[in-house]
C-alpha cells in the first residue's frame, strides 16, 4: 500500500535515489536518465516540474486544456516547453511553436520520458494490481506528459495513420458505448496507466487532488459568505491568483504550493468556520492539525487589518461572527443533548443485532415519547397545575378505589384533575404574579385572575399547534432527506453500495445480514431478468384480478369491522342504560381491540394470495390496508362519541365519559399488545422451535408494530381535550412498551428477511402520524370545540353553548377593557372570524406549492440534460483513449521492427541505466 496517504513534507532535494524509489513506489528504470544520477539539483528541478505539471493538470476538467498550458512556471523543464497543450494555439496540425527540436523527435526523448521499451511494460500491470506497488504521483506526472506528447505527436502524424484510426473509431462506434468496458483488459499497460492518472480517478486517492478540491470549496464558500472580506484580503495575499480557481489555473502547482494556498484560504475564514471546514476534509488528523497550525498563526494580523476595513466589511464580519457563535452554540447544545441520550446502549444493542430497520421502530417510539412529553409539559404547567392548586369543592363523597379503576378509568378517578369535569369554569382568584401565567396577562389589568376556561382552551390549542409545527417540520425534513429528484433509478448500485449496516456488531447478525443481502441481490437480478422479457396478457389479467379481489376483501373487512363496532356500540348504549355495571364498560374497548388485532392478520393472509412485484410495494400495501382498517374503526367511534353519546348522556357529564372511554381504549390496547407479544412472538417461537423444528425465529413485523404505535398516539390526541392527563398515561405506556418489546425482540425475534429502507420508512411513519392521525384528530377536536354543546353540569365550559364561546366572551371582555388592547379584538374579528383571510392564506399556499412543483420539474429536465452531456463526454473520452491505444500499439510495432532490423531505438546510456536500477 506504500505511502500514498502519508505526506512527505521533505523537499525532494533531501531524497536520496533509493529513498525516492521506496517512497514513491516508482518502478525502477522508468525515468532514469543518465544525467540525473547521482541526484543533483538539476534532477530535483526536473522532478519538481514534472510533479508540478501533473498537479496542474491534475485538477478536474483538465482535459479541456486551458489555452496557454505550455507557458508554465519559470522553472519548467525542457520537456514542458516541448509539449504545448494539444488544443493550444497552433498545436493542432503543425509542430508547436516550441521550435524545430520537437519536430523531429530523437528516439531517445520518448523512451526517456515515458517507458515504451518492452522491458518496463510488463511491470506496470503488476504495479496496478498488486498492493506492493502502485502508480505513484511521480508516475502520474510522467504519464501526463506522455499523454500530452502523444496527443501532439498523433496530431501531426494524423495523416499517416488516419486509416488505421478511422478503422478503430468505427469499431468503437460499432460496439456501442461499452467499448472500453469490454476491451479494457486488452489495453496495453501504458494506456492503463493513462487511465489511472485521469483526473476523475485521482480525486479518490491523491492528496493533492483532495487538497485542491477543498481549496476550491473554500474559495467558493468565502466568495459566497463574506464577499466584502475578499477585497482587502486578496490584494495582499494572492495578487496573481485572484481571478482563477485552481482547477482552471493552467500553471503548474505543486502539492505544497496547493497546500499553502489552501492554508491562506483557510486563514481568511473565521475560526469556527475554518474548524468546520477542516473537520469535513477527508484527511488524517495529523494533516488536519498541521493545516490548522499553519492557518492559525497569522490570525491576529488579519484581525488587525480587519479593523481598518470599511464599515461594510465590519458589519459583514460582525454578522458572520454572530451566525458562527450561534452555530457553535447550537452544536455544543446538540452534543450535550447527545450525551444525555437515553437508552443509548439499548439502542446500540438493538441496532447491532437487528440492524437499522428494527431500530427505526424504536426510534419512532422515542419520537412519540418526545411529542407526548412536550404536550404533557404544557398541560401540566397551564392546566393541571393551577387547577390542582385551587381544587374546587367536590360534588359528592369520593368513591372508594377498588383496583378496577386502573382498567376503566372511572370510579375514584372521575372527580380528579384527570378528567374535564373536574376543571372549574370560574376564574381562579389569583393575581397573575406567577411566571407561568405571564403570557396570559393583558398589560392593562394589573391583577387579572386566572381564567380557567380560557386557559383550558388556549393550552390545548397551543399544544396542538406546537405539535403540528414540530410534526410538519420533522416530516418535511425527513422528506427532504429521503426523497431526491431522480432517486428511483439505480437500485442495484444502491443495494450494493448502501445496504451494509455498519452498526451490526454480532457475528450471527452479520451472517444473517449477508444472507439477506444475498437473497435481495438474487431477487433483484431475477426481477431484472423478468422485466427484460415482457409478461403475457393472460398473466397480467390474472394478476390484476387477484389484486382487485384482495383489495375488495380487505376493504370489505374494514367495512365489516366498522359496522360491527357501530352495531355493538348501539347495543352497548341500550344495555348500559339498563345495567350500569362498571365492568361492562370494558366490553367495547375489548371488542375494538380484538378487531384491531385480528383484522390485520386476516389481511396478511389475504396478501399471501396476491403476487407482488417488489417487496417494498408489498409493505406499503400492507400498511395502507391496516391504516384503512384503523381509520374506519376510529371514525365510527368518533361518530359514536360525539354524535350518539352526547345525546344519550344529556343529564350527565359526557366529556368525562368520552375521556374515560379513551383511557379504557388506551389501556386495552396496551393489554392486547402485551398478549400479542406474548402469544404472537414468545409462544409462536416456542412452538416453531419445539414442534416444527424450524431454525428461524418469527420475524419482527415493523409495519404492524408501528401502526399500533400510531393508533395509540391517535387515541391520546383524541382524548387530550377530555382527559388532560392522557399524555402521561401514554408516556407510561410507551416506556413499558419499549422495555417489553426490547426484551421480546432480543429473546424471540429475528430481523425481517426483507430489506427495509429505514429512512424511507421513517418518513412514511411520520407522514402517517401527521396526515391521517394528527389531522383527523384535529378535525375531531375542532368539531368538538366549535359545534358540540358542552354538558351543562361539569367542566370549564358548562354555561356556554360551545367551547369556543369562551374565546368570544374573553374578546368581548377585552373590548370593554379599554383602547390599549383594542388590536386584539380587531385581530380576532378580521383574521379569525373572517373567512376571507383563510381563503387568502390557502390560495397563497397553493400557489407556492404549485411553483415548487414547477421548479422540481425544471430541475429534473436539467438533470436529464446534464446526464446526457456527461455521457457524451464519456464517449469522447473513450474515443481518445482508443486513439491513444492504437498509437501505442503502432509504436510498439515500430519499436519491435526497429529492434529486429538492428536500429536500436534506445540509447546505450539509458540501457545501462536500467540495468543499474
Amino acid at each position: 500500500m506504500g505511502s500514498r496517504w502519508v505526506w512527505n513534507y521533505r523537499p525532494f532535494l533531501e531524497l536520496g535515489e533509493t529513498e525516492s524509489h521506496k517512497n514513491w513506489g516508482l518502478p525502477p528504470g522508468t525515468r532514469m536518465n543518465p544525467d540525473t544520477r547521482p541526484p543533483s539539483p538539476g534532477s530535483d528541478l526536473r522532478m519538481r516540474c514534472e510533479e508540478g505539471s501533473q498537479v496542474g493538470r491534475g485538477g478536474r476538467h483538465s482535459r479541456r486544456g486551458a489555452p496557454g498550458g505550455g507557458k508554465g512556471a519559470p522553472q519548467a523543464g525542457p520537456r514542458d516547453s516541448q509539449g504545448p497543450s494539444p488544443r493550444g494555439p497552433g498545436g493542432a496540425a503543425q509542430p508547436g511553436p516550441a521550435g524545430p527540436a520537437s519536430a523531429h523527435w530523437p528516439p531517445g526523448v520518448l523512451c526517456r520520458s515515458f517507458p515504451l521499451t518492452p522491458r518496463p511494460l510488463p511491470r506496470f500491470p503488476a504495479a496496478l494490481a498488486g498492493h506492493s506497488q502502485e502508480p505513484s504521483p511521480y508516475d502520474e506526472s510522467e504519464v501526463h506528459d506522455s499523454f500530452q506528447q502523444l496527443i501532439q505527436e498523433q496530431s501531426w502524424r494524423a495523416a499517416q495513420e488516419g486509416l488505421e484510426l478511422q478503422q478503430r473509431a468505427r469499431q468503437a462506434a460499432g460496439s456501442g458505448q461499452h467499448t472500453l468496458l469490454g476491451s479494457e483488459g486488452t489495453h496495453s499497460a501504458a494506456t492503463l496507466r493513462i487511465l489511472a492518472s485521469m483526473p476523475s480517478r485521482t480525486i479518490g486517492r491523491s492528496r493533492g487532488a483532495i487538497i485542491s478540491q477543498y481549496y476550491n470549496r473554500t474559495v467558493q464558500l468565502r466568495r459566497r459568505s463574506s464577499r466584502p472580506l475578499l477585497g482587502n484580503l486578496v490584494r495582499s495575499a494572492r495578487p496573481s491568483l485572484r481571478m482563477y480557481d485552481l482547477e482552471l489555473d493552467p500553471r503548474a502547482q505543486e502539492e505544497e504550493e496547493k497546500q499553502s494556498l489552501l492554508v491562506r484560504e483557510l486563514q481568511s475564514l473565521a475560526v469556527a468556520q475554518r474548524d468546520h471546514m477542516l473537520r469535513g476534509m477527508p484527511l488524517s488528523l495529523a494533516e488536519k492539525r498541521s493545516l490548522r497550525e499553519k492557518s492559525r498563526t497569522p490570525r491576529g494580523k488579519w484581525r488587525g487589518q480587519r479593523g481598518h476595513g470599511s464599515i461594510f466589511s465590519c458589519c459583514g464580519w460582525l454578522r458572520y461572527a454572530c451566525v458562527l457563535t450561534l452555530h457553535s452554540l447550537g452544536l455544543a447544545l446538540l452534543s450535550s443533548l447527545q450525551a444525555l441520550t437515553p437508552w443509548r446502549y439499548a439502542l446500540k444493542r438493538i441496532g447491532g443485532q437487528f440492524g437499522s430497520s428494527v431500530l427505526s421502530y424504536f426510534l419512532f417510539l422515542k419520537t412519540l415519547l418526545a411529542f407526548n412529553a412536550l404536550l404533557l409539559l404544557l398541560l401540566l404547567a397551564f392546566m393541571v397545575g393551577p387547577q390542582a392548586a385551587f381544587p374546587p369543592a367536590l360534588p359528592g363523597p369520593v368513591p372508594v378505589c377498588t383496583g378496577l379503576e386502573l382498567l376503566t378509568g372511572a370510579g375514584c378517578f372521575t372527580h380528579t384533575v384527570m378528567y374535564y369535569g373536574h376543571y372549574s369554569n370560574a376564574t381562579l382568584n389569583q393575581p397573575c404574579a406567577g411566571p407561568l401565567e405571564g403570557g396570559r396577562c393583558s398589560p392593562g389589568a394589573g391583577s387579572l385572575p386566572y381564567n380557567m376556561p380560557l386557559a383550558y382552551l388556549f393550552t390545548v390549542g397551543v399544544g396542538f399547534f406546537i405539535t403540528c409545527i414540530t410534526l410538519v417540520y420533522s416530516m418535511a425534513h425527513s422528506f427532504g432527506e429521503s426523497y431526491r429528484v431522480g432517486s428511483t433509478s439505480g437500485i442495484h448500485a444502491i443495494t450494493v453500495f448502501c445496504s451494509w449496516d455498519y452498526k451490526v456488531t454480532q457475528k450471527r447478525a452479520s451472517r444473517l445480514q449477508q444472507d439477506n443481502i444475498r437473497t435481495r441481490l438474487k431477487e433483484l437480478l431475477a426481477e431484472w431478468q423478468l422485466r427484460q422479457s415482457p409478461r403475457s396478457v393472460c398473466r397480467r389479467l390474472r394478476q390484476a384480478a387477484a389484486l382487485g379481489l384482495t383489495w375488495l376483501l380487505c376493504l370489505g373487512t374494514a367495512l365489516g369491522c366498522a359496522v360491527a363496532v357501530h352495531v355493538f356500540s348501539e347495543f352497548m348504549i341500550q344495555s348500559l342504560e339498563a345495567a350500569g355495571k362498571e365492568a361492562a364498560l370494558l366490553v367495547l374497548p375489548l371488542v375494538v381491540g380484538l378487531l384491531n388485532l385480528g383484522a390485520p392478520y386476516l389481511c396478511r393472509i389475504l396478501a399471501a394470495l396476491e403476487p407482488h412485484d417488489s417487496p417494498v410495494l408489498e409493505v406499503y400495501v400492507a400498511i395502507c390496508r391496516n391504516l384503512i382498517l384503523k381509520l374506519a374503526i376510529l371514525g365510527t367511534l368518533c361518530y359514536h362519541w360525539l354524535g350518539r353519546r352526547v345525546g344519550v348522556l344529556r343529564g350527565q357529564c359526557w366529556e368525562d365519559f368520552v375521556g374515560q372511554e379513551l383511557y379504557r381504549f388506551l389501556v386495552m390496547d396496551f393489554i392486547l399488545m402485551l398478549l400479542d407479544t406474548l402469544f404472537g412472538e414468545l409462544v409462536w417461537r416456542i412452538i416453531s422451535e419445539k414442534k416444527l423444528k424450524r431454525r428461524r425465529k418469527p420475524e419482527f413485523d415493523i409495519a404492524r408494530n408501528v401502526l399500533e404505535l400510531i393508533y395509540g398516539q391517535t387515541l391520546t390526541w383524541l382524548g387530550v381535550l377530555f382527559s388532560p392527563l392522557l399524555p402521561a398515561v401514554q408516556i407510561i405506556k410507551l416506556l413499558l412498551v419499549f422495555y417489553i418489546k426490547k426484551a421480546s425482540l432480543l429473546a424471540n425475534c429475528q430481523a425481517p428477511r426483507r430489506p427495509w429502507l429505514a429512512s424511507h420508512m421513517s418518513t412514511v411513519f411520520l407522514t402517517l402520524l401527521c396526515f391521517p392521525a394528527f389531522l383527523g384528530t384535529a378535525v375531531f377536536l375542532c368539531y368538538a370545540v366549535w359545534h358540540v354543546k358542552p354538558s351543562g353540569i361539569c367542566g370549564p365550559f358548562r354555561t356556554l353553548d360551545t367551547m369556543y364561546e369562551a374565546g368570544r366572551v374573553w374578546v368581548r371582555h377585552l373590548e370593554a377593557g379599554g383602547p390599549r388592547v383594542s388590536w386584539l379584538p380587531w385581530v380576532h374579528q378580521y383574521l379569525v372570524e373572517n373567512t376571507f383571510f383563510v381563503f387568502l392564506v390557502s390560495a397563497l399556499l397553493l400557489a407556492v406549492i404549485y411553483l415548487n412543483i414547477q421548479v422540481v420539474r425544471g430541475q429534473r429536465k436539467v438533470i436529464c440534460l446534464l446526464k446526457e452531456q456527461i455521457s457524451n463526454e464519456g464517449e469522447d473520452k473513450i474515443f481518445l483513449i482508443n486513439k491513444l491505444h492504437s498509437i501505442y500499439e503502432r509504436k510498439e510495432r515500430e519499436e519491435r521492427s526497429r529492434v529486429r532490423t538492428g536500429q536500436a531505438a534506445i540509447p546505450p546510456t539509458l540501457l545501462t541505466d536500467e540495468r543499474d536500477a
Partner: protein, 230 residues
C-alpha cells in the same frame, strides 16, 4: 485507564473535538477502548453506560477495573513509551483493533483499518487514526466525508476507482466469501454489469468518486447505516 481524562490534556482534547466529529465523551471513551481493547466487552460497557448516562470515562476513573486496564496497557508498552505523548503515539496492531466488538463482525474490517492507518507499513493504527475512524463513522459526520471514506473502503486495490474486480470483491464481502454463499459467476457478471450501467455515468468502465457519491446521494439510508456506535 487510571484517569485517561487527566492523561489527555485539555488542549489536546479540545483540539480533537475541533478536528473530529466526536464529542468529548466519545473521545474519552475511544481512548479507553484503545487503551484496553481486550477488556471492553459488552457487559462492562452496559454497566458503564446504560442506566445513568454518565460518561464511561468518568466512571472508569473511579472503577478499579479500568485502572487495571490502563496498567495492563502500559505494561504492554515499553518502558520509555509510558509517558502521555508516547502512549498517544503508540501503535495498536490490527489484530487488537479487529477484535473490538464494534468491528469484529464487519466484513470490511481489514479495509477500514487499512484506509485509516497512517503508519508507513499500513499494519497498525495510532490513537489518532482510531479517532479519525470513529469520527467518520460518527453520527454527526457529514454525508460527504462518509461517502468519501466508503469509496476508499470499497476500492480494494487502491487505484482510485471502483473497477469490475473491486465491485465483485465488494459483492462477495456483502454476501459472504465462502463458496456456497457467493453468487454464481453469471449472476455476478450480470450484477456488476447492472451496477456499471446504472452508476457509471461517463461510461469508462469504472466508477469514480463523483459517480459513487452521486449514487450515494440518492440513498438516504447510507448515512444512517454508515455508523459505528462506540
Amino acid at each position: 485507564m487510571g484517569g485517561s481524562g487527566s492523561r489527555l490534556s485539555k488542549d489536546l482534547l479540545a483540539e480533537y473535538q475541533d478536528l473530529t466529529f466526536l464529542t468529548k465523551q466519545e473521545i474519552l471513551l475511544s481512548m479507553y477502548v484503545v487503551s484496553a481493547p481486550h477488556l471492553v466487552d459488552e457487559q462492562q460497557a452496559r454497566s458503564g453506560n446504560e442506566h445513568t448516562g454518565t460518561p464511561i470515562a468518568e466512571r472508569a476513573n473511579r472503577s478499579p477495573l479500568s485502572a487495571r486496564a490502563h496498567k495492563r496497557f502500559c505494561e504492554l508498552l515499553p518502558q520509555e513509551q509510558q509517558s502521555v505523548e508516547a502512549s498517544l503515539r503508540a501503535q495498536v496492531s490490527f489484530e487488537q483493533i479487529l477484535s473490538l466488538p464494534e468491528l469484529k463482525a464487519n466484513p470490511f474490517k481489514e479495509r477500514i483499518c487499512r484506509v485509516f492507518s497512517t503508519s508507513p507499513t499500513r499494519d497498525s493504527l495510532s490513537f489518532e487514526d482510531f479517532l479519525d475512524l470513529l469520527s467518520v463513522f460518527s453520527d454527526t459526520a457529514t454525508p460527504d466525508i462518509k461517502s468519501h471514506y466508503a469509496f476508499r473502503i470499497f476500492d480494494f486495490d487502491d487505484d482510485g476507482t471502483l473497477n469490475r474486480e473491486d465491485l465483485s470483491q465488494l459483492v462477495n464481502c456483502l454476501t459472504g466469501e465462502s463458496e456456497d454463499t457467493r453468487l454464481s459467476a453469471s449472476e455476478m457478471k450480470q450484477l456488476v454489469d447492472n451496477i456499471l450501467e446504472e452508476s457509471d455515468i461517463d461510461r469508462d468502465g469504472t466508477i469514480n468518486l463523483s459517480e459513487f457519491q452521486h449514487v450515494i446521494s440518492r440513498s438516504p439510508d447510507f448515512a444512517s447505516s454508515f455508523k459505528i456506535v462506540l
